[in-house]
Amino acid sequence: MALFEVKNLSFSYPGSGKITDCVSFEIEQGDFVILCGPTGSGKTTLLRLLKPELEPKGELTGEVLYKGQNLRELDASESVKIGFVNQSADHQTVTDKVWHEIVFGMENLRYTQSQMSRRLAEISGYFGISRLFDKNISELSGGMKQTVALAGVLAMDPEVIILDEPTSQLDPVAAGEFLASLKKLNDEQGITIIITEHRLENVIPLGNKLGILENGRLTHFGAVSQTAAQIRPDEIMFEAMPGSVKLFSLAPNGGECPLNVKQGKRFLRESGLDKRLIRDTAGSEKSKNESTGTALKIKDLCFRYSKDEPDALHFASLEVKKGEIMCVLGENGSGKSTLLYAVSGLITPYSGKVEIFGKNIKKYSGQSLHDNCVAMLPQNAQSVFVKSTLRDELAEVGADFDIIPYDLGYAAETHPYDLSGGEMQLAALAKVLAAKPRLLLLDEPTKGLDARAKRIVCDVLTQLKNRGVTILAVTHDTEFAAMCADRAAMFFRGAVIAVDEPRGFFSQNIFYTTCINKIVSDTDPRLITFDDVKNRLGGED
């Protein structure tokens, strides 16, 4: 008997179209199921329909069986066997301490003291978080917060854990670690995992079933490699697939679809694709950007947040030319964001110099730094909004919808918080552009965005560049940098340690590069995006 049987499930909110449209699938015990789909395809709604307490209110037809029993008939002690973790680490924690968060669910189910103590010990041991036991959750990193949330669910001995984009707010390293712990739970404890994700590269090699949702319909569902191989390049989700899957589409040889870099490399050799990619690349293209003048010059900047901490910026130097997109890449906590704060005047470095359009930042008095000059889009786009509709939001600052090269008019009456990740990013961008900045600072512009939204943001930024806006973005998204940067810089321990145009930058990196580049680097390290590979092959015909 299957763990979950979903039969012809349709759901719609009052007064809206179908969010979930006649979906049927089965999940066996011990499966690791990945559900993906573009933003707004109904992933979250579908997940919530699998958890009785979270079932959204609306019109429902069809049924969901859990171990043969209708989901709605489960009592509390049975339904906690279905654990749920969502993307917001900050808001799904209930209590202030780590230990309390882990026992919270057990308290609700009236476990005895000794049961709770034992489980608490087990869980702390399993995740290696005994040291954090007494810590305030607010002091933990995003990744640790998510781990604590997972531990809190795990304490109730779930048979299945449903996760709604659990890593979308995490940096790549933390995301990788979190997903690895899920894989471990799946392998070692036999816990069924159902997860939605948009960063598919890391998660696809872990799963055994893949489902793809589009407009509420389940277009594909089945074993991961077969399903991945079925996705055609013209489908929306193709863009989000890992590099190896995209490469497979170029020469499907009927074999197994490669899911990770290792398999991708083998596929490249076996399919003969590598031979077709070799090309004489002497005299490769020069950087097209022959712009004149410097927009931003940072020299030997030093800053620390408090006396006892190490420098967040340690002799950081960087030059950004007028009209270019500069991406600063680096790990979390390397001080990338601090660099932006220094340029936007939020912090004052204790030594060094910032020159913006040839003028020392200290010479800009009051508002003049921001008038027609520098504006920053913060990491969390939500914090930009203060009004109840997008129209009011833009009207308040005297901006119009056509301020960005993308049409958001359809969302004018929406509450900014209800926009999808990509829309929110663009709406925030529209608001920030109201000050008509010549230098635009972006802090993690692709955080939490799916592949399509990323592509749109990228296009919008390129068009802004063509209008003469200089853009400095900090990010850990290598794909994004490869797609739209004119130059990329590597940030490490508070300073820029390398600057190059993206092709040169990524071709020399081994770890910090795009997935495609990792696979094809043996053949030609100068291929960094899927489009590069396609163009190279296209050129041979």
Partner: protein, 302 residues
């Protein structure tokens, strides 16, 4: 290891409240002196490095009470000098001094208490009375840093966007109200996620059973019993008027009857219990440490 920290919070709380109440409601030089000596010795035993700040504030309070009362209260017989036709009396100074010493001792007691009673322990103690209130408290303790951090983030975002002017007072006030309204939206939007997360983990399925990190050991019972017995004697002394003391118009004699003496002794022991516990613990550790270093446990060699 600080031993008082390892006692059950309820027992510590009980001892603390009783002692503080007796100290605060008896304005008596002996009680004040005992309370001051007990609280100061406990603080000194526990502190890892000198904390000058607290001693300075205790001193300021004691001196402040003494001087203020001395100069503004004109009761008392022994006139030291006359300023603007107002007599300054020795009794008023002494009354101020006793009040000040009591206040200083209460500062010391509370300082140690707040160090021992971490939020976990307060929630545990509160949970004995009202589990719901304890849950609300722990949720608030989570929410406050989150909220403050968010307010800073929104404020910075608004500033760095560069759209809003903040050069005049009016525009600054506008800025603050803008951040505030954004915070309200933020809080109401995200509280839904929290309540979902609670429901998903079985909240609302019935009465909760509170987990406690703290067990109630025989020594906790002993601490509570001793506290109860000693404080009973002290309360009887208070009730019988043995601790009564007058400052005006002349200082009364300190009662030296058998009842009063036993009351003082009991209160004195009460004040020094924690210092005994901590001090005894220090000695035990010193002794154990010498043994640990001699033993051949591989762990100890690291």
């Amino acid at each position: 290891m600080k031993d008082l920290d390892s006692f059950n919070p309820f027992a510590v709380f009980f001892w603390f409240i009783i002692t503080a109440v007796i100290a605060m409601f008896n304005l008596n030089p002996v009680i004040a002196a005992l309370s001051f000596a007990g609280s100061l010795s406990l603080l000194l035993i526990r502190e890892k490095r000198r904390r000058y700040g607290i001693h300075i504030s205790a001193l300021l309070i004691a001196a402040g009470c003494c001087l203020l009362n001395g100069f503004f209260s004109h009761n008392g017989k022994t006139v030291l000098l006359v300023i603007n036709n107002n007599p300054i009396t020795a009794q008023a100074f002494i009354f101020g001094l006793v009040t000040g010493v009591t206040a200083a001792s209460v500062i010391y007691w509370f300082s140690t208490f707040s160090e021992i009673m971490t939020s976990d322990k307060i929630i545990y103690t509160l949970g004995r009375v009202s589990p719901k209130a304890a849950l609300i408290l722990t949720m608030s303790l989570r929410f406050i840093p989150l909220f403050i951090g968010k307010a800073k983030e929104i404020n910075n975002s608004q500033k760095a966007m560069g759209i809003y002017k903040d050069e005049t007072i009016v525009s600054r006030i506008r800025g603050v109200s803008r951040v505030f309204s954004a915070m309200i939206t933020y809080a109401t939007e995200n509280v839904i996620i929290t309540s979902d997360s609670m429901a998903a983990r079985g909240y609302g399925s019935g009465r909760r059973r509170q987990y406690s990190l703290f067990s109630f050991k025989p020594r906790d019972a002993a601490l509570m019993a001793v506290t109860a017995a000693l404080s009973a004697v002290s309360f009887v002394s208070t009730g019988a008027g043995y601790f009564d003391f007058w400052f005006y118009p002349e200082l009364s004699e300190i009662n030296s009857g058998a009842g009063a003496i036993s009351g003082y002794i009991c209160f004195g022991i009460l004040c020094f219990i924690p210092a005994f516990i901590e001090g005894g613990d220090r000695l035990r550790w010193r002794y154990l440490k010498s043994k640990i270093s001699l033993s051949h446990i591989p762990e100890a060699g690291r």
